[in-house]
Symmetry: C2
Subunit: 244 residues, 2 copies
């Protein structure tokens, strides 16, 4: 019922309401729980063997803060239940083998598709980031280092680049914590500017899952937590996906 509801919406042409509230929020059938467990979503999302390049690995551009916090979280993946999420060039690589609503079906195509936050491939110039996720806590931490191609005010990251980093971290968290797929809303209060080349830490929590929606919050701050860069909230829509 739910899938059919969204498929109906998704079949509409590109220029019609894909996400209009009347289309995307069909009445929830209380007997149809969201099927995929977080474990199965995580194992699909983090393939053990793949030839795809993982962009969420340290490189020479990472600042010492970013490197050492990365190592700290890597230790936590061994004992504390944290998982390091791989990050491929395209979202298409993450959703291989999932049956998507037909309007979103992946068609073969020669174009060089890139997920926005991996749009710049020169190390250190654009987005450097890695996301760690904790399934049972439904929490994520994103280590983010903006490069000089992400500038807004001279020497500082563009507010929009942080907005996109938040949306992306929310998005991956929503997907893994409860099949959340689409951003319904994003609200940000900016407090301080992030210097280009420095580390900002995004702490994301799923606050509740209700009525097919995931409600999340994020505090972005310096590593020492003394400077809050921004606070934000995001609401994502759940969509049940099936394996092919």
């Amino acid at each position: 019922m739910l899938r059919r509801g969204f498929q109906g919406a998704a079949r509409l042409s590109h220029h019609r309401a894909l996400l209009g509230a009347s289309c995307i929020l069909p009445r929830l059938n209380p007997t149809s729980a969201f099927g995929s467990s977080t474990d199965s979503l995580v194992s699909r999302f983090c393939p053990k063997e793949t030839d795809l390049k993982d962009y969420a690995l340290p490189n020479a551009s990472w600042c010492p803060d970013m490197l050492s916090l990365y190592q700290e979280f890597l230790e936590k993946t061994k004992a504390d239940g944290w998982i390091k999420l791989p990050s491929f060039k395209s979202n298409r690589d993450h959703i291989q083998g999932l049956k998507l609503p037909s309007g979103l079906a992946v068609t073969s195509d020669e174009r060089d598709w890139r997920i926005f936050t991996r749009c710049i491939q020169v190390e250190g110039q654009g987005y450097e980031y890695v996301i760690f996720f904790h399934p049972s806590k439904k929490r994520s931490v994103c280590l983010f280092q903006p490069g000089p191609y992400l500038e807004g005010a001279p020497g500082f990251a563009h507010g929009g680049s942080l907005a996109a980093m938040m949306d992306e971290t929310f998005s991956k968290t929503a997907y893994l914590a409860g099949e959340g797929l689409f951003t319904l809303s994003l609200s940000i209060r900016f407090k301080n500017l992030i210097p280009v080349g420095s580390l900002a830490v995004l702490n994301v929590d799923v606050d509740k899952i209700e009525d097919q929606k995931l409600y999340m919050s994020c505090v972005t701050q310096s590593r020492d937590q003394k400077t809050v860069y921004a606070k934000s909230s995001g609401v994502f829509l759940q969509l049940q996906l099936e394996q092919e």
Copy 2:
């Protein structure tokens, strides 16, 4: 007083509160109006003679909708008071000759600084956009065509790429309409996905200027106005700038 207040804040090191409310919102001195007229800001922003490349000009990647609406607005620049804003590789090029708060002073630097929304220079792959501004209406229209490097869901623009485009259009509007410089908040409700390679039109209005803040709203829709992609609001902080 106002300048000193922000300069004080800006002198703080990068990791201290640049934009903490207590620092950036000193009590407004009612006798000190914001000095620069919109006309002088616009003429500074749109230099008649410059060697800088303007990225807001048509290229072979623009879709027919984008091209024809561009031509329509170009006509409006001749009679209806609209202004086409140039778009350089870096914000640093726009603010040459302005005395900035010291924490934001532009230092000479060999790095390839790019404003985030011009981070990708390959035509058609990333951001294609042009902003038109109407000084007396305090209104902007941004024609935005996302390329395949801005992908989120397969075939559609990442929500974060639209968020950044909104922030950038708000930012330029806020600056020209009233010396608005910094995003304080950004709030977006997403309604529909924007297909990669198609035109989205951002309609921005300055709703009010009060208490050193510009309140703006934006409706993003298809050219035929039948599909609303998103609605958003933004609040920007005014900062008085002086010519050197």
